[in-house]
């Protein structure tokens, strides 16, 4: 049983898109899940808590703590990023609660930092947060909307000799030869699609300010999208960008039917598509391409050599 668990974990790590499809990060309404294995140092759990997408400096700093909590990193495309915050900004107030001078139980901890963490942990996805922050000598304000950014991740070292055997077995079945690359894509039928976020000018032309414009239709002929279509919603969820569209699409499992509300020549229509078997959509042999580097395009020989994997991702 343990081996099965480990193999499943390993598969999740080598197949990030598939794993993420099932977990669907940044997707509200996901149930609370806790996954543990018997192996030491391996754990995972997720929650639906709202986050603002920052890492706060939690170390005490006498000068800085008089002002507020300093941001050490911003999660790309998270709420703070969208609101224009940057590394080095100091958050001085959080929903009208002043952080300056807050004290911490441990003298090595930053009082404002810990206070901000405490306040932010109470957020639910969709909660609105008013913050004030200092950048250099400027005092600024911003409004953030908390999001489910994917919850906890699990980290640690895990030795998985089973992986070597598994991939040795899988490779011949895929008929991957020397020099071949293979594409791992949760949606190879989507591979050829090209999309762009609608801007106001495009929106006026196409008759909507929302959605994602299909510039080139996908290769899969079973998917009845056409160039010029505007995808307004996928399963009731509105994509705000091509990336968000792919996040929504990958949340569907094999055999599920995807329903899309599409604007074609300024007329509403519904496009449905049944997600093909994973075998069809997961692996696709391909010649080496000029395209951008992809996590999903892996040189098989590297996989064979990897018996020690150090992952850091949610399961």
């Amino acid at each position: 049983m343990r081996n099965v668990t480990v193999a499943a974990l390993a598969a999740c790590m080598l197949m990030p898109a598939l794993s993420t499809a099932q977990d669907a990060p940044r997707r509200p309404g996901r149930p609370r899940v806790r996954v543990e294995t018997s192996r030491p140092g391996v754990f995972a759990f997720t929650d639906n808590r709202g986050r603002i997408g920052v890492i706060v400096d939690a170390r005490a700093d006498a000068t800085q703590d008089k002002v507020g909590a300093r941001i050490e990193a911003i999660t790309p495309d998270g709420p703070a990023d969208k609101a224009g915050l940057k590394v080095g900004d100091i958050i001085t107030r959080f929903n009208n609660t002043s952080l300056a001078g807050a004290s911490a139980e441990d003298e090595e901890d930053s009082g404002p930092g810990m206070k901000l963490i405490e306040l932010a942990r109470k957020l639910e996805p969709g909660d609105t947060v008013q913050i004030e922050y200092r950048r250099g000598n400027d005092n600024r304000k911003a409004t953030l909307v908390a999001e489910d950014l994917g919850g906890f991740g699990w980290t640690g070292r895990m030795e998985m000799p089973e992986m070597g055997d598994m991939m040795e077995n899988v490779m011949p079945k895929m008929r991957v030869g020397p020099g071949d690359a293979f594409t791992f894509a949760f949606g190879s039928p989507w591979g050829g699609i090209e999309m762009v976020r609608l801007n106001p000018d495009l929106g006026d032309y196409f008759g909507t300010r929302e959605g994602v414009l299909v510039v080139r239709a996908p290769e899969d002929s079973t998917l009845a999208l056409k160039g010029g279509d505007v995808i307004l919603s996928i399963g009731g969820r509105k994509p705000s960008s091509p990336e968000q569209a792919m996040r929504i699409l990958r949340s569907y499992d094999t055999g599920e039917t995807v329903t899309m509300d599409v604007l074609r020549k300024q007329k509403h229509m519904t496009v449905t598509w049944k997600v093909p078997d994973r075998e069809d959509r997961m692996f696709k042999r391909s010649p080496r391409m000029h395209e951008e580097p992809s996590l999903f395009r892996v040189a098989p020989r590297l996989l064979r050599l990897r018996n020690l994997i150090r992952p850091s991702r949610v399961i």
Binding site: V56, G153, E291
Partner: protein, 96 residues
């Protein structure tokens, strides 16, 4: 032999600086308004989500050992670098 605390501290500081620099670089390759292939959009989404998950871990791991903290930040730097590359490559491609 475990690294000395001073060494770990220096490595941690370096990783945080690299992370901040990469965040600045990311702003230069804003992909809003650019045409993205399904692969590119999926790659960017995947990297953003992995960084988001890692950030969730970093923001909660108060008691994590220094050595592990350094590895987590270095991992963030690696993912940020991939994200910058993904955006930069796509931006050049579209600009042709």
């Amino acid at each position: 032999m475990n690294p000395k605390p001073a060494t770990l501290h220096a490595e941690l500081t370096q990783a945080k600086q690299q992370s901040a620099t990469l965040e600045d670089s990311l702003k230069q390759y804003d992909i809003d308004g650019r045409v993205l292939s399904g692969h590119a959009a999926a790659l960017v989404a995947e990297l953003e989500d992995r960084i988001s998950i890692l950030d969730g871990t970093l923001s909660r791991e108060q008691s994590v050992q220094d050595a592990e903290l350094v590895k987590l930040w270095q991992e963030r730097v690696g993912l940020m670098r991939q994200l910058v590359n993904a955006r930069a490559t796509r931006a050049r491609y579209v600009g042709l």
